[in-house]
Amino acid sequence: MNSNTPSSSAGRAGSADSAAPRRNSKRPKYSKFTQQELPACKPILTPRWVISAFMLVSIVFIPIGVVSLFASRDVVEIIDRYENVCVPESFRNDKVTYIQSDVDKICNRTLRVKKLMKQPIYVYYQLDNFYQNHRRYVKSRSDSQLKNNNSQDDVDSCKPEDNTADGKPIVPCGLIAWSLFNDTFNFSLNNQQLAVNKKGISWKSDRDSKFGKNVFPKNFQNGSFIGGKHLNSSVPLSEQEDLIVWMRTAALPTFRKLYGKIERDLQPNELIQVTLENNYNTYSFNGKKKLVLSTTSWLGGKNDFLGIAYLTVGGLCFFLALSFTVVYLVKPRRLGDPSYLSWNRNPGGH
């Protein structure tokens, strides 16, 4: 009789057996990825770590700051704002009429060299309050037309300076080219002409592959409303370096554009005579015009900001490192003390 007594687990054992092959295939493969156990480094910001990191930053940053500040101080810059003084007294109240009139706009300025300026000395013009980044302006150009002689008609993007009144395409088209800066500067030192090299002031890559060698200005500045400089229609665009420089539009409303290079040293206290033709209209929007002569250092032009920023950050880090050290020494705290956990500090108050 007992032999027929069923065991209570027999039924389950049977079903478990049938599940056995399935079980193996279902069991996920073990890997560090699947178990989320990939080795990881876990930076814990211990006081020592923080203090030494701050210390390190200040040690590295302060010298860099000093060096770049010196580099920037080495740069000699002469800035001359001329848009007001170059308007005759009689026109001071209505400068726009002056600039749009046909009167002679020659203006003489004298610049004094404060310190020795080593060659090359870069000559820039600086415009203020001029929105080269205005959407309407910045889009108004045709890159394909500038590069290829064949795509002269590619002027769709150039509106409103796309075609002349009689429907011929303008080369180079667009507002940017049309409003090319047209003040000119002549320099003389002790009544001797000071040569300004205007070659190589634009990017080589622009000359080579953005502006075509066989693209010549056509129908340019032929309209009733003249924007800026005229272009010599026998010189290909790739050699019109003023245009190339101008067409690298500036991102900010205050910008400098390279005009040329003076390839000789200027001695201290030398006086440079500048004869400039004040043609460009910035008066209608109260824009400033400045002439800038500047040398460069290994860090570029005159720029104190970088050095000051490095010094500030370095100094701040040094200060923090110092104060953390003091706090750490005065009131040390054991790492990983659970009594600091919020629910341990004020029980029940969550």
Partner: protein
């Protein structure tokens, strides 16, 4: 509302109902593109991006190349469309396989091989052993002389045991050859998805003698996707075909659950959208004003004095486009990606594999992992969830005598063994009820041992215990049961089975003793469903005491009872029962009513006590999760005392001095109301004391409370961290979940049985335990785990990590979009508010697609704290629950190799991409990068930015 199926009638029904072609496909080749696009564009974010992309086609206002939006947009759409297409193609393939399977069908009186899709309603389908059932059939014949067949319903409800199906009585005994020619009509309801009900009638036409209406139940059907087992052949009439089968109707996509985080992201998106509109308006107005005042003076811009009519709109629209990146296009894709990875991590987790059965955890819903970290209420079932659901018969009380009290195991109690050996009539009757009052099927294995196939663990325990006490249930042959007792075989004929329902809380069988022809009613059930119906004059006090005593020990009790029926009483009742079982409307309720008429004047035989052990690690799990600020509610169908005992033993509530139990009871509205108010009062007073207060409510009081005092009960629910609800029905469980959800709590429901399914589907997160009560709960759930204790890991580790990672990812997505957007906005102030973009198209696209998305994606590997720390200090979870991490710092806390790879790789990629574009003469940024890299000041500045950023 009814369907009449004419059996074997080749002409009339061809057109009326659909054929058996199964189609799970969402799309066809033609409608794929429009339908899929329509679906994708019904989401707000996608509509937004489409609008932006369309606006960009207008070159007057677009700041960048339209490709920078169209590219990612098309990419994202293509990814989700091809995923859909691939899924649909697979569905098509599997449909095709099922549709073209050859089956035997009777056509014009001859058996023919046809494809499954050509089966029509009314056809007779023949199946062989191990065949898959092609459509819903009403059985009319099987190879078994008793008309039985066995089916495996795993595909339908996940239960792996074999179920018995029987042919209707009208078809009993019809010759094998005649089945081809059978004619008749089946009256059945229209297709529905209830796989437990089929209330229909069958009437056969002459020459088949039985002219009566024969009731059909689900027991007479075999449903689509089941397998025929242990039966040589079976045949049936197709009643529901194609997509109208019970399986086909119950398919359908459950409503997607949205996590709290998703809701937050949507809100944030909305807020950013509003902010964006404000920015656009302000800048648009400023732009127009600037244009009218300043731009006229800027002669080089050549603004015309007379613009087109849309002039005023141009600048605002430009800003709209510039600011469109404020809402990150990549966030949905990235989130979907990382969420599926969270789900995979859960699937892969080796520590959540049930060592006993080897079942790994599974995340069926990949979208809601981070909600796990925000759970505030856990509603848990008791049996099978907290306990093992491995029932062992421990004690019993027969006619007032307690057995098994000393040893704790009645099977070893000498007194009981002696009583059995002495054939004490009370004890024998008791054991007989244990052995045959059930739906267990004994199966003889090849070795001669008897295996019991039981659907209920309690019945399994009782039958096995009876067998150990020498009352062995050996065989069931159609309606004849054989019991072997002390060497003699006793046969009983089962006349009726009054099945168990959770409302009646008892089940009975009516059997006829074949020796003396007596008709007996045998019942077993919960004490309150049996004891009140004892015959007048029987002392039930000892039984009540026994029930209470057992419940104190946390044992499950069942009362056994019997009654001898008179022949005519039975006959009279039998007619009513038959009528009730053949009704089509409210059948369940009618049957219950009829059963009530028979189940009274019981002679109570005794009480059984079955032990259900706690699962491993349950108390620890509950304690840990409690510490994490999660409130526990226990919802059980068991009786109050048992529930309280289990609750005590698993740390659910604390014993007296520390804890306090408040009872809500009462039978009438007034009583419940008074009790509820008393409890509320106590609760308010004690809420300041450090005392564990829990309330206990039973199903009856709960019903009244939910109906009439919902407000008070809701207040109670908010005040109380612990609650025990006993004697609750599945729908009440779901109601409680609903109640907590309506108070804005994140709920998690965990259960293992079919009675938990509704609660699991209702809750924010449903967790199913793949336990002994089948897989129903696990299939309905969002997560299925093998053991209750894995819940700790699921919530504390996976839930918390997922939450933190998603928080990081979404914050970062918004952060990076806002950063670049603010740069554009500030730039617009120095570019004449004209809507110029500072960045070119390539940089913008690369910023969104490469630079900022890849390093963020690897943040799925971020672990801010180790798993051990979280397990030790579960309080950390408070931060997730409060949703605080969403506003806390953007930081990565640990760096794995992959993260290093992504970050440094990304840095390299930045330079590579820019160098490549700088090397292409036709692109706008030709040589710029090379120039930049030659400048020492660039490097020095970069160094400064990086160092300052780190600081």
């Amino acid at each position: 509302m009814k369907r009449y199926v004419y059996i074997n009638d080749d002409e009339s029904l061809q057109e009326l109902y659909c054929d058996n072609q199964i189609s799970n496909r969402k799309y066809t080749v033609l409608n794929f593109l429009p339908k899929n696009l329509w679906e994708q564009f019904s989401r707000f974010m996608n509509q937004y991006f489409l609008l932006i992309a369309c606006l960009q086609l207008w070159s007057l206002i677009t700041p960048v190349n339209p490709a920078s939006t169209w590219g990612p947009l098309i990419f994202i759409f293509a990814v989700s469309a091809s995923k859909e297409a691939w899924d649909d193609y697979n569905r098509y393939l599997s449909d095709k396989k099922a549709n073209e399977k050859e089956v035997w069908v009777v056509r014009q009186g001859i058996k023919k091989h046809v494809q499954a899709q050509d089966i029509h309603v009314g056809n007779i389908v023949w199946l062989r052993e191990n065949d898959e059932v092609p459509c819903d059939l009403v059985l009319i014949g099987t190879s078994d002389p008793q008309g039985l067949c066995y089916v495996e319903t795993a595909a339908l409800d996940g239960e792996t045991d074999l179920k018995t199906r029987v042919i209707p009585s009208a078809c009993m005994g019809i010759d094998f050859e005649l089945l081809h020619k059978i004619k008749g009509v089946i009256e059945c309801p229209n297709p529905d998805k209830d796989i437990r009900r089929f209330d229909a009638n069958l009437r056969l036409f002459p020459p088949f003698i039985d002219n009566d209406v024969c009731p059909l139940t689900i027991k007479n059907t075999i449903l689509q996707s089941c397998y025929l087992r242990n039966t040589e052949w079976a045949c049936g009439v197709a009643v529901y075909t194609g997509n109208e089968t019970k399986l086909g109707m119950s398919r359908g996509i459950p409503e997607p659950k949205l996590t709290a985080m998703d809701a937050m992201i949507d809100k944030l998106t909305g807020a950013i959208f509003v902010f964006q509109i404000v920015v656009v308006m302000v800048l648009g107005i400023a732009g127009n004003v600037w244009k009218d005042t300043e731009a006229r003076k800027q002669w080089y811009v050549l603004y015309p004095y007379e613009g087109p009519w849309y002039e005023l709109l141009v600048i605002p629209l430009r800003f709209e486009l510039l600011c469109s990146i404020m809402i990150p296009i990549s966030i949905k894709v990235s989130l979907d990606l990382v969420k599926s990875l969270y789900a995979k991590f859960i699937d892969w987790d080796n520590e959540m594999i049930d060592q006993e059965t080897g079942i790994p955890s599974h995340a069926a819903n990949t979208a809601i992992s981070e909600d796990l970290g925000q759970v505030e209420y856990i509603l848990t079932d008791k049996t099978g969830t907290l306990t093992e659901n491995r029932m062992i018969f421990r004690r019993c009380c027969i006619s007032g005598i307690f057995y098994g009290n000393e040893s704790g195991d009645a099977l070893k109690d000498v007194e009981l063994l002696n009583a059995v050996a002495g054939s004490s009539p009370d004890v024998v009757r008791f054991l007989t009820v244990m052995a045959i009052c059930n739906t267990v099927i004994p199966v003889k294995s090849k070795t001669g041992a008897i295996l019991y196939k039981a659907q209920s663990q309690d019945e399994d325990a009782l039958v096995n215990a009876a067998a150990r006490l020498h009352v062995v249930y050996v065989n069931k042959n159609a309606n004849i049961l054989e019991i072997r007792f002390n060497g003699s075989v006793i046969q009983y004929e089962v006349l009726e089975t009054l099945e168990f329902t959770s409302d009646r809380k008892r089940m009975s069988v009516v059997v006829k003793d074949c020796q003396n022809g007596k008709i007996i009613l045998l019942s077993k059930g919960a004490d309150e469903a049996i004891l009140p119906y004892a015959y007048a004059g029987q002392q039930t006090r000892t039984f009540i005491e026994a029930v209470e005593q057992y419940a104190q020990l946390g044992l499950r009790t069942l009362c056994l009872a019997w009654r001898e029926l008179k022949e005519d009483e039975y006959q009279e009742w039998s007619l009513m029962f038959k009528e009730a079982s053949s009704t089509l409307v409210d059948r369940e309720w009618r049957i219950a009513e009829v059963c009530q008429r028979l189940e009274h004047d019981f002679e109570i035989l005794g009480v059984t006590a079955i032990e259900d052990r706690l699962q491993d690690g349950v108390p620890e799990t509950i304690e840990t999760l409690r510490k994490a600020g999660i409130n526990f509610w226990m919802l059980t169908g068991d009786k109050q005392n048992t529930a309280i005992q289990i609750a005590l033993s698993c740390n659910f509530i604390s014993p007296e001095p520390k804890g306090q139990l408040l009872l809500i009871d009462g039978k009438t509205e007034d009583e419940v109301c008074r009790s509820l108010e008393r409890v509320l009062l106590t609760m308010r007073i004690t809420s300041s004391e450090p005392k564990d207060v829990a309330f206990v409510v039973d199903g009856w009081a709960l019903e009244i409370a939910l109906k009439h005092y919902r407000k008070a009960f809701t207040e109670l629910a908010i005040l109380s961290r612990t609650a025990i609800c006993c004697r609750v029905t599945p729908s009440q469980k779901a109601q409680l979940v609903e109640l907590l959800k309506s108070c804005d709590y994140r709920t998690l429901a965990i259960g293992d049985g079919g009675n938990d399914v509704r609660m699991i589907q209702q809750a924010d997160i449903g967790v199913g335990i793949s336990g002994r009560e089948g897989l129903q709960a696990a299939r309905a759930a969002d997560y299925s785990i093998g053991k209750f204790r894995f819940l700790k890991r699921l919530i504390l580790v996976h839930g918390r990590y997922s939450y933190n990672r998603t928080a990081f990812l979404s914050q970062y997505s918004f952060y990076k979009s806002l950063v670049i957007c603010f740069i554009q906005i500030f730039f617009s102030f120095i570019s004449g508010v004209s809507g110029t973009s500072l960045f070119n198209s390539v940089s913008l696209m690369a910023y969104n697609v490469f630079y900022t998305s890849v390093p963020v994606l690897v943040s799925v590997l971020d672990k801010d704290l180790s798993e051990g720390t979280i397990m030790q200090h579960p309080q950390i979870l408070f931060y997730c629950q409060a949703g605080r991490a969403f506003v806390v710092a953007l930081e990565t806390n640990s760096f794995t190799i992959l993260q290093h790879l992504a970050i440094w790789g990304n840095l390299v990629a930045f330079y590579v991409i820019n160098w490549i574009f700088s090397a292409v003469p036709s692109s706008g940024m030709y040589t710029i990068m090379f120039r930049l890299c030659r400048q020492p000041s660039y490097w020095i500045t970069m160094f400064l930015i990086v160092a300052a950023g780190m600081g």
